[in-house]
Structures are given as structure tokens and as C-alpha cells.
């Protein structure tokens, strides 16, 4: 059995990286905002909002993909609007695969960011106030830099998890070679074909290495940033 990847397999790897990267870029600002709201804001229905954010963790991924299809499908309320105003179509596209991945990995990201936000000494923000820093200034110069370990950890973990998102992607964006056939989808396809054993094994090993690398990278990055912060 050859260990070198075929062009279709390389295509799946590239696509996985692209989808995961796009999902992280798209969801990061939202995740920071959500984490901030969940940590700092007090409003009725906060617990419900918290549960809603974490829903993708417990729902079957296929259900998430289906809901996305209902919302963003050509006749869905959001899908129709996006198409009419921006000419954007999400289902069966790479962008759609990224959206499905983003929704699935969102809770992971929020959790990591929230944890770092909860660890920030509010006293530092009070100190910044007495030094003349207005709210946005305080957030950008004190809160955000101190959240950095959590933001990095959240981004890298979400990226690593995003490489392997299957259920929501295949439901919402289908399994189109070169467009939405990411690593897990290619692996699934290989397993379905009679002569795909070698391909399946190579892709499984590749997924394992990517996942392991991602988790290690997250840990090392967080350690480095923490050291700079003196913790």
C-alpha cells in the first residue's frame, strides 16, 4: 500500500483546511461577542441563550444540517434574502460547508474564550478606568489582550474539530468532489467503494495526525501566551 496521497485525497485535505479556516474566521468575532455577553451581561433569558449556544454540542449533526437547510435553503427565509440581495447561495457550496462547520464548532470556541474571560481580574479594568480609559478603549487594550490565550485556544481547537466535521456538512452542503468533499466525507466515500480500503486508511491516518497536531499546537500556543502574561 502506498502512503502517498492521490490528487483527489490532496483535494479533500486542501478543502478541509479551507473549510475549517473559513469557519474559524467567520465565527471568531461572534464567539468573542457571545462569550462576552454570557460572562458580563445580565439579562432575562440568559440561561436560555447559554443553552442555545451550546445546542450543537448535543444535537445530532444531521439535525443541525437540516435546520440550516431549512433556514438557508433556496426557499428558506435567510437563504432567499441572501440570494436576492447579495446573490449568495450557501447550500452545496464550500461557503455552505464552512457555515455548517462554524455552527458545529461554535460552542467549543465560546467555551474556551469564556473561560479566559472569567479568569480576568475585573480589578484590572477598574484600574484602567481610573487611568482614563473609556469602555471601548478598556476592552481593546486590557480585556481583549488578556483573553488572548482563550481566543487562541478556542480558534485552534475549533479549527482542528472543523477539519473533521461530517454530519452537518454532508446534510447542508452535500458530498461534491472539489467543492464540499472534505477529509471525513472523502473517507466516508472511500469506505463505500469496494476498492477504497487503502484510501480510507490513508485518510484516517491523516485525520488522526491533523487532530493530534491541532490539539498540541493549541496547547503550546496557550502556554507561550500565558508565559508572556506571567501566569
Amino acid at each position: 500500500m502506498s502512503l502517498s496521497l492521490s490528487s483527489a485525497e490532496l483535494e479533500a485535505l486542501r478543502l478541509s483546511l479551507e473549510v475549517a479556516a473559513r469557519s474559524v474566521v467567520f465565527s471568531l468575532p461572534l464567539a468573542v461577542l457571545t462569550a462576552w455577553i454570557l460572562t458580563r451581561a445580565r439579562f432575562p433569558g440568559r440561561t436560555l441563550f447559554d443553552a442555545f449556544v451550546h445546542l450543537p454540542l448535543v444535537l445530532p449533526p444531521v439535525a443541525v444540517g437540516y435546520v440550516l437547510l431549512l433556514l438557508f435553503g433556496t426557499h428558506g427565509p435567510l437563504g432567499a434574502w441572501l440570494r436576492a440581495h447579495f446573490g449568495i447561495q450557501l447550500p452545496f457550496t464550500t461557503a455552505g460547508a464552512a457555515l455548517a462547520t462554524a455552527v458545529m464548532t461554535f460552542p467549543l470556541m465560546v467555551r474556551a474564550i469564556r473561560l479566559s474571560l472569567e479568569n480576568i481580574d475585573r480589578g484590572l479594568e477598574a484600574a484602567a478606568r481610573t487611568l482614563g480609559a473609556a469602555p471601548l478603549d478598556r476592552f481593546l487594550t486590557i480585556t481583549l489582550p488578556l483573553m488572548l490565550p482563550g481566543i487562541l485556544a478556542g480558534a485552534v481547537t475549533a479549527f482542528a474539530a472543523g477539519l473533521g466535521e461530517f454530519g452537518a456538512v454532508i446534510t447542508f452542503a452535500a458530498n461534491i468532489p472539489g467543492v464540499t468533499r472534505t477529509l471525513p466525507l472523502a473517507l466516508y466515500t472511500a469506505m463505500q467503494s469496494p476498492d477504497g480500503d487503502a484510501t480510507a486508511l490513508r485518510l484516517a491516518i491523516l485525520s488522526l495526525l491533523l487532530g493530534l497536531g491541532g490539539l498540541l499546537a493549541a496547547e503550546l500556543l496557550v502556554r507561550r501566551v500565558r508565559r508572556r502574561l506571567g501566569r
Binding site: G123, A128, L131, T141, L146, L229
Partner: protein, 364 residues
């Protein structure tokens, strides 16, 4: 005024500037709550804060200037340096945001004044507790505040580290004309730094006034341990005896020998004469080792702990407190107006050098 559960703070005081106003009281007396309200970090339920004619808080008129626009510096007990910046980054944080405010102190001056030169490139976790507090002081100063609040800046430091910071606080008081509010529950810090004293107990102001004037008031008994009660007097060094480590002070109409170092002739110093260490005599005594005998008249006698009284003696201007037993009081038959000698051992005076103020600000 502020209510927090069972605790109610109802305090009012006005103090002259510049100078160091000490808020003194036990833990839980409302000191920190009070300065958080001055800084605007805690909104009072009802009340008013004015600084140099500018209203910062007035609950009746709905005025509440945000802390970031008050120009009040705050040095926290735990320094609160920003961990993701170097010491220099911390120092410049407030300076950058001071905007159009008149700059009374420059970066280089702060570094010089607080001895921060070697620390600038370090991060907060590479600094000792005392160094952190010095950086925090510098950071607050560079924001060009009109008032500096210090919330027990030495409380989290051990004795040696305190000595690392105290001289710098004295420098700020003596060299910069910035008014400071200093929160403390350590009387020796108050003695060393304060010009004006506000006594807090259970959320109320017991008394306030110049340190010397307040030191002989009866209210001191409720906030101080008995052994720390004693008159605080200001005097001018007239003669130095470096061999013995004593100086001679002009106090009121008399002379006082005190053990005090680093105080050249002409320096204004403050000494505390502990009430427990003062002996009263109704006639001059010879053949005693006591170096000081100040002639004065009894002002009043107030009860102290069971079995003892505090006798207030006017020694020609300053007042001195002496704790004597009730037996002694009866034996000497002391009454207001009687002439007495107050005997003070030179070694039992606790003295501090005050370089700045010609006279402490007076209310009357």
C-alpha cells in the same frame, strides 16, 4: 452615603489641600468604600463629591462623572499592574490618556522620583511586591491626576518591603504638591505620612483634623490599641548629636531630646510621645536617667482602661498625653490647672522627618 446589606456608610469630611489625608480605622470601617466613591468606582446612594471646586458626584442633581474623566489617581492594595505590558507600558498607560490635562510630571521625573530606571523593561510578574507598588504609584501619577487615592498600598507587603516603598511616599508628599488620600489601618504609616487625619469607625467619621490636634482627642482611644495612644507633636531640630543618635527639638516652649536619625538641624520633624511611656511629676526630679522634663499644666483628666486615666498636659503650646494609674492620680491629687513635669525618655519617642510643610494645614 452608601448602604450594603447591614453596613451603612455615612461619612462627610472636607480637608485642605495639598497634604496627605489619612483615612484611618479598623478593617470594615468603610475606608475602601469611601475612596471607591471618591474615585467614582462605586456610586453612592446619596451624596456629593467635590474636588477643587468641581462637582464629581451629586446624587440630588444627578451628576456622576465617570471615573475615567475624574482625573483621580488610584493606587490599589494589590497594585493591579497590567500583566501583558512591561513596567514602562504600565507607566505610560495613563499618561497616553491624560490628553489635554496639564502635565505636572514627566515620565523621566517619575522614573527618577520612584527609582524605576532598572524596572522599566520588566513585566509585572518579574517584580517584587514593593517594586510593583512603586510602578503602580508611578502609573497613577503619570495620568496627571488632581488627587491621588492610595488604598492600603503597603498592606500586602512584609515589613522589609514596606520600608522599600515608604520613603517614596514621603517623597511624593514632600516634593509634589499633589493632594493624597491615604487609607490605612496601621498607625505608624499615618504618623509617618499624614497631615490630616479622618477617623472612621463603623461607617462613620468619628473625628477629623490635623494629626497633632487629633492625637490627644478621646476618640483616638476607640480606634487605636492602648499602647499606641500618644500625643503627636511637631518640632524643629535645633541640635544634632550624631554619636548618640539623638536630636534636640524645640517643642512648644521647651526642649525635647528624641532618638532620630537623618534629621539635620533645621528639619521639621514629628514625634509621637506614647502616653504609656510618660511619667508625671509634681516637682522637679534629679538623679533620673530620663532625658526630658517638660514643664506644663494639667488640662484635663479622662478615664482610660479600668485602673488608669489619661492626663492631658499643656507643655507651652503642644499637648502631651500621659497614662497613669488611678492610684497615682490620687496620690498626686492632679487637677486641671496644676503644674506638672512630663518626663519623656528620649528612646521612647517615635519620630519621623517631615521636610515639606512649614506648618500642617489648620482648619481654624
Amino acid at each position: 452615603m452608601k448602604r450594603r446589606g447591614e453596613f451603612t456608610l455615612a461619612a462627610a469630611f472636607a480637608a485642605p489641600t495639598p497634604g496627605v489625608i489619612a483615612l484611618f480605622g479598623r478593617s470594615g470601617s468603610g475606608k475602601t468604600t469611601l475612596i471607591e466613591m471618591l474615585a467614582g468606582l462605586l456610586p453612592p446612594d446619596a451624596g456629593e463629591v467635590q474636588l477643587a471646586g468641581r462637582t464629581l458626584t451629586d446624587t440630588r442633581r444627578g451628576i456622576a462623572v465617570a471615573p475615567e474623566r475624574r482625573r483621580i489617581g488610584y493606587v490599589f492594595q494589590d497594585a493591579r499592574l497590567f500583566p501583558h505590558m512591561t513596567a514602562a507600558g504600565n507607566l505610560r498607560y495613563g499618561q497616553k490618556r491624560a490628553g489635554a490635562a496639564p502635565q505636572f510630571i514627566r515620565f523621566e521625573e517619575v522614573v527618577e522620583l520612584l527609582g524605576l530606571g532598572a524596572l522599566c523593561g520588566r513585566r509585572p510578574h518579574q517584580l517584587s511586591g514593593g517594586e510593583r507598588q512603586r510602578v503602580a504609584l508611578g502609573r497613577a501619577l503619570l495620568a496627571q491626576p488632581q488627587l491621588l487615592l492610595l488604598d492600603e498600598p503597603l498592606a500586602s507587603l512584609d515589613v522589609a518591603r514596606r520600608e522599600e516603598v515608604l520613603p517614596y511616599l514621603e517623597r511624593l508628599r514632600d516634593w509634589l504638591a499633589i493632594p493624597m488620600v491615604y487609607v490605612s489601618h496601621q498607625f505608624d504609616e499615618v504618623l509617618r505620612l499624614a497631615t490630616w487625619l479622618v477617623l472612621l469607625e463603623g461607617g462613620r467619621v468619628l473625628a477629623d483634623g490635623p494629626v497633632g490636634e487629633l492625637s490627644v482627642r478621646a476618640e483616638m482611644r476607640s480606634v487605636l490599641a492602648p499602647d499606641l495612644v500618644g500625643s503627636v507633636v511637631d518640632g524643629l531640630v535645633t541640635r544634632v548629636d550624631p554619636a548618640v543618635g539623638t536630636v534636640e527639638l524645640a517643642v512648644g516652649s521647651g526642649r525635647l531630646q528624641a532618638s532620630l536619625r537623618d534629621a539635620p538641624a533645621g528639619t521639621r520633624v514629628r514625634v509621637q510621645l506614647l502616653a504609656r511611656d510618660i511619667i508625671l511629676a509634681t516637682q522637679p526630679i534629679h538623679g533620673l536617667s530620663v532625658r526630658n522634663a517638660l514643664l506644663g499644666t494639667v488640662v484635663d483628666v479622662t478615664p482610660d482602661d479600668p485602673g488608669s486615666v489619661l492626663v492631658k498636659v499643656d507643655v507651652g503650646g503642644p499637648l502631651v498625653l500621659a497614662r497613669i494609674s488611678t492610684d497615682a492620680l490620687e496620690a498626686l491629687r492632679l487637677r486641671p490647672g496644676d503644674a506638672v513635669w512630663a518626663l519623656v525618655k528620649a528612646v521612647s519617642t517615635r519620630g519621623h522627618v517631615f521636610r515639606l510643610f512649614g506648618t500642617p494645614p489648620r482648619r481654624d
